[in-house]
Amino acid sequence: MKSNTNALKIAVTAVLTAVVVVFTMIIRIPTAKGYLNLCDVAICFIAFTFGPASAFIAAGLGTALADLISGYAQWAPISFVVHGLEGLFIALIVRSKSGEDVSFLKKILAGLVCMATVSFGYWALSALFIAGPAVALAEVPGNLVQSGVGFVLGLGVSMAVKRAYPPVRSLSW
């Protein structure tokens, strides 16, 4: 499949964005900032299965839209940046030529980068734009847990999906 047609890129981005939105909103555990959710599972899945560009857009736009829809519009720009970068960084780290397996070391690195980006990113941007460094710190433990667990589940789901739906390889751009 030609993966560089406009229509396919648009289709992939749109559906993956919708996936991130649904994963963010479908299961929620309430906390101070908002909710603990499965968005990182979706983002890590996309980063492992698709390229950096799709991961960046789907992750950023998806979480921003989810914030918007859930009534947390004020967090949307921050989510866009933080999760967008999360998707981008992980995808860049685990990018491999034509489906060769990613080394365990790279996976660990990607996981750490994931947790760091989310926790630090939210902390920094919340500190700057929302409530100052001290309050922003309160969200860090929750973010660490969510991104860490999300990474592991995302990795697992990514492997399961590649087995369950082999044509996914031809969709990535």
Binding site: I10, A11, A14, I69, A73, G132, A160, A164, Y165
Partner: protein, 255 residues
Amino acid sequence: MNISTYISGRGWLYRLDPRAKILLMLLLCVFFFLPISLAGLLITVALIVVVGWHNTGKRNVWAVFRSILPMLIFMVIFSPFSGRGGTPLVQIRSFTLLTKEGALQTLRLAGRFIGITYVCTLLFATTVMGEVILALRFWRLPYKAALVITLSFTYIPFIAESFDRISESHRLRQAGPDERKNYIQRLKDLMPTLTSVLVVALRSIPNLAMSLEMRGLGRDEKRTSYHSLDSYTRLFTDLLISIIMVTLLWLIFKA
């Protein structure tokens, strides 16, 4: 899953041109970060809340406040951490718990947070999403990006429903009479469901790409637009009003 942010109503905010509304929202958000007096900040926030009350109703205003209440409580609890070394306000024995600067800083942060929250939520509560996107396109959002956002909104309900159906199928296939489910088991059971949802979503991608092309995406003709914001006739006036309003606030309240 309710994905609509729109709350129907009939105030002047609904009649304001969406393109101007976006500008107004951005300018107000910037305003909150400028060096303005604390009193000015709080008055502006109060004004915004009143406008929101008048336009979208009491229930909506209260719902928004409730959603940010946890964060506000956190801010209050953490107020001892800011402004240390200032004039003491609350003291326990000889330990300064809270300084005056700290209290004021917290008040400013809280006010700003409330202001930004209402500004953002009011934009989406008084404007239908389709018009928001049209307004963004006016402000130079590329057509492809607008299309991606619109398509996402089409697919969110589909994927959410797939999740529900797949979860139900899970329920129907539970084997034994009384399966005790601890968290690990729940998480393990979630995996096939999530995998299945993703496969259903991924399988729709070639169809979507196919449909887009079969409906003409990519043609040489310049794409026209069926929907428009032509029903809003006072764009220039509204833009001017937005700019003037925020400029006035700045001039009046600057520190």
